[in-house]
Symmetry: D2
């Protein structure tokens, strides 16, 4: 049985989506996947980041995380995205990363990736649903196999019940409001599970 290659790709300003991504990466490893935890390139200038202590601290503490590239997408069997909302749509840093994959797409190298997505916002209904939908819309263009969590586990209800992907509210204090750790674990394990079925089905021993 070939191990699933899982890329967990995130953008994070103050650490929430980095945390979601890390939980997903760990859950992926726990079920035998080969995992790459990857951030997308920042668009904001350093001078802006400097002025925001939480942003600065997160940028520094994650400076050793590799930046995602086309080769990671080509390598991956499964991809989990984690991205905060910006006005009900993916942050432009993530959008730029997606836009830059036109070359890979044109070569047909993005087909049949198993994809799932997570998000965060500053209000309980602040675009978490819409942001995940936007991500999946782009994935449809890539010919992805989309695996939203639905209501496939009790942890999802506990985490706020978002069937499109785990989402969390970032409180005024910068911390997560809902307890979504288990929901993230489930989502990541299910994504790897579906990818494993597909790999096994494509390559019977």
């Amino acid at each position: 049985m070939k191990a699933v290659k899982l890329a967990v790709i995130y953008y994070s300003m103050t650490g929430i989506n980095h945390q979601l991504a890390e939980w997903a990466a760990n859950a992926g490893k726990s079920v035998g996947a080969e995992v790459r935890l990857l951030k997308v390139k920042e668009l904001a200038p350093e001078s802006v980041i400097e002025k925001n202590p939480a942003w600065k601290a997160n940028t520094e503490s994650t400076k050793d995380v590799q930046e995602a590239g086309s080769e990671d997408l080509e390598w991956a069997d499964a991809i989990i995205f984690s991205v905060p909302t910006r006005f009900g749509n993916v942050a432009s840093q993530m959008k730029q990363f997606i836009d830059l994959q036109g070359g890979l797409w044109a070569k047909g190298k993005l087909m049949n990736k198993v994809v799932s997505a997570m998000s965060s916002a500053q209000n309980p209904h602040g675009g978490q649903e819409a942001t995940i939908h936007s991500l999946y819309t782009s994935m449809m263009h890539w010919g992805a196999i989309i695996v939203p969590p639905g209501y496939t586990d009790a942890s999802i209800f506990k985490g706020g019940g978002n069937p499109y992907g785990t989402s969390v509210t970032q409180g005024q204090d910068g911390r997560m409001v809902e307890d979504v750790k288990e929901a993230v674990h489930h989502q990541a394990k299910r994504t790897v599970q579906v990818a494993q079925w597909i790999i096994n089905g494509q390559n019977p021993e």
Copy 2:
């Protein structure tokens, strides 16, 4: 190797989506799937249908097609939906069919279905994209594995290039404007293919 069980479920007023569904059903059979071609229950009263010759003719010519029920969804490994747009969203006949599956959903019987969707409208940009998205949104609630065609085959470009699902424009004369037959064949075969991988992967011999 277990055969994929494919349910092709459609609503059709004047025959377009019945045709799309039939093409999908035939393509499914051609790659070894067990197929059920099923229509959803009509909501319009007979007196209204009577007054519209095209609607009446289609109702009569498809009267022997079975009506879809919860047992068909439980049976299926893969589901292809075909539904015309009504103001940028699925026709209410299809929405009612979906709404009625709450019982099956609550029992966890709708998880992991491999799903793909098709649509039609009276204008080239008359809601084909939006309607397919609405269908997939509901499928995310069911815990489905969503398999839009993307740009995984040349036939998709020829058929109008809708990566979310095959869609067609119904002309003033009631006929299809674009030539989407091959795109439908590809979409159905790919849906069955992904379902086959998953079945094989779940049940290694």
Copy 3:
């Protein structure tokens, strides 16, 4: 100054959306609108409703509410919809009501209505955003002027911060989880306000 004619159109199974609609209607009256509070036609057979005490009770207590018809839409300057989610999309009862307006639409009688929408779900992220978006998509086909609340008032944050429209979670006990009354009041008043500006602007004294 001509008064704004506001139609508040809802579907409600156990009373949540009836309550939202009533709050919206009252807020509309409080700012001088002429208001019609209207329910859409039920699709479920009586025998099904009978078996669900909460559904039955709500059906009985709202039996004197008028059913919405095309003439109400033609009459209205502004429309507020309130509809529970069913798998991330409007309940089929509401979808049927929308679908039936094809005749009015073809006559151009649905243009320039000022529209806003509200929703409810059983999980905090259970499709509230997606359902309101579906409604607005249909309204775009009607040529509506869409007035989502955005973050135009502090009450919106308090009610869960849904910028697309007020939404509420229905708890296990059947009651609303969030306190959205003020958010509904604001949304209704703003909808009437925008409609009033448009009426005044169209008909200078």
Copy 4:
């Protein structure tokens, strides 16, 4: 009667959306609006643009168009966006422009803008609908008054019948496939018209 202040904000790689924006700007002027035609900041490095003759030519021919800034949004009564799809969502250049308005948004300066949007793609169903929807979703966060064209004029049917906003297909030769000039004119005039009603209604003489 105060003139409507209209900002037409676009991103264009090879000229299509610049052309749509220019048509909209001219139509706005023809009905008395004060108009600013504005492009958003490019994200691609010059070295990449240099290698693509069509991109380079468009960049040079539009080098005197002003870049949009927050002050333009604050100034405007109405905004028309024109942006190509990138994988079913707004190009990242436009997304970045939107994301950067957080400061203006927090001050409440983005409320009640009258907004409409246009798009283009390389396939007839290549994300035109989805891209315009994404833009409107962000506008809902801004508290905008959204004015999609619907089917409010015959020119819309002629241009492909996209009720969400005018959209066009870019052919292999780089040119527009559909004839959408009249549809753009109508959309821009209607947007200005609605904004004019609102201004007049807010400021009766």
